[in-house]
């Protein structure tokens, strides 16, 4: 069946979350969890401490998907992330995530047709600087 959905869903913000200020404990816990040993992520003073680049992936907004998400298939799975990194995350930063459906597209491969959903989250800090743009891909068939 050809993919059919209301294209107006593309680009509309479905989540806007302002997170509590980042703490040193959050950064150190994340660094420990992913096995980081670099002192700038682990033992630096609070003023010098920065989050490992993938720290932003641990942020969870209020809504993972739009409420009016079209049915793209019965089976879906994580198809990877692309992340553009910007300003580093520092202790005390107030991060905001704005999430949109960036793209929905269909392709065919050795095993048949599949649909890809790309959810884009733009993370900014309290200075309006871009911290990261995360494109989360999911594949459905």
């Amino acid at each position: 069946m050809p993919l059919s959905f209301d294209k107006k869903i593309i680009g509309n913000e479905f989540d806007h979350t302002v997170f509590k200020p980042v703490t040193a404990a959050q950064i150190r816990e994340y660094a420990e969890a992913v096995g980081e040993t670099n002192p700038r992520y682990t033992t630096a003073s609070d003023a010098e401490l920065v989050g490992p680049p993938t720290f932003v992936v641990a942020l969870r907004g209020k809504h993972f998907m739009p409420s009016n998400m079209p049915n793209l298939g019965r089976n879906g799975f994580d198809a990877g992330k692309d992340i553009d990194f910007g300003a580093p995350v520092r202790v005390g930063d107030v991060l905001t995530a704005s999430s949109t459906v960036h793209d929905i597209y269909e392709k065919t491969g050795r095993t048949g047709s599949m649909v890809f959903l790309v959810l884009r989250s733009v993370i900014t800090n309290q200075h309006g600087e871009s911290v990261a743009t995360i494109d989360q891909k999911m594949m459905f068939r």
């Binding site: 050809p2 597209y105 491969g109 050795r110 095993t111 047709s113």
Partner: protein
């Protein structure tokens, strides 16, 4: 003249290869991969505004553009894309009719050639077995750098049966794959019109550089 007729850059959603990095890699690997140019065939898209002439001049490598589209007979490379073609065919449609596309592209001045024909589901061979042949096919990609064992070998039967010409391409999505398979033309090609003309009327053959790279690596 040797061209890689099937390549993808970061403009395709499943590739991370910048065009300039391809060119830098080819400069370094000139001895093992002596190609003169490449054709970017991005998946399901055509952007008329991209201009690679500055990179061509800087690196001395011909850069042409086409597209890889998806049809009911598998994937097809379209060379000589123009406004008439993009007005008639939606390249994002993964269910294009090959019986309609292939002759229509020719009528509109381009050329549509099936790629990786031996691949399951998205290759011509499987569909020929169930739906019969298509009129207007001039050549098929007999050598594809991304094919699995047995997929390229499967293509020879339809080449023999239908008299198709054969060409090669790397189907590169990663920088180090550029040019591993390519096409050797008897005549020089300087433009996309030259390419369409030579693919239709000229003499050419697939060429495989993987052994060169393997020898160098060992």
């Amino acid at each position: 003249m040797i061209l890689d007729l099937h390549t993808h850059s970061e403009a395709s959603e499943d590739s991370r290869a910048p065009v300039e990095t391809y060119l830098k890699w080819l400069q370094r690997k000139r001895a093992e991969v002596p190609i003169d140019g490449l054709v970017l065939t991005e998946h399901r898209q055509w952007n008329p505004d991209i201009d690679y002439r500055a990179l061509e001049d800087q690196y001395g490598c011909l850069i042409l553009r086409g597209a890889e589209v998806e049809t009911d007979y598998g994937h097809v490379l379209v060379y000589g894309v123009n406004d008439d073609i993009t007005r008639r065919f939606d390249f994002t449609n993964v269910r294009l009719s090959a019986r309609e596309l292939i002759p229509a592209v020719s009528e509109m001045g381009g050329l549509a050639l099936p790629c990786h024909p031996g691949r399951p589901t998205i290759g011509l061979c499987e569909h020929y077995e169930t739906k019969g042949p298509i009129d207007g096919v001039v050549a098929v990609e007999a050598l594809n750098g991304g094919s699995r064992r047995g997929e390229n070998e499967r293509v020879q039967a339809i080449i023999d049966r239908y008299g198709y010409k054969s060409f090669g391409g790397s189907d590169s999505h990663l920088v180090s794959f550029i040019g591993i398979c390519a096409t050797e033309f008897d005549r020089d090609i300087r433009s996309i019109d030259d390419l369409v003309h030579e693919l239709r009327h000229g003499s050419y053959r697939p060429i495989d550089f993987r052994a060169n790279l393997a020898r160098k690596a060992s």
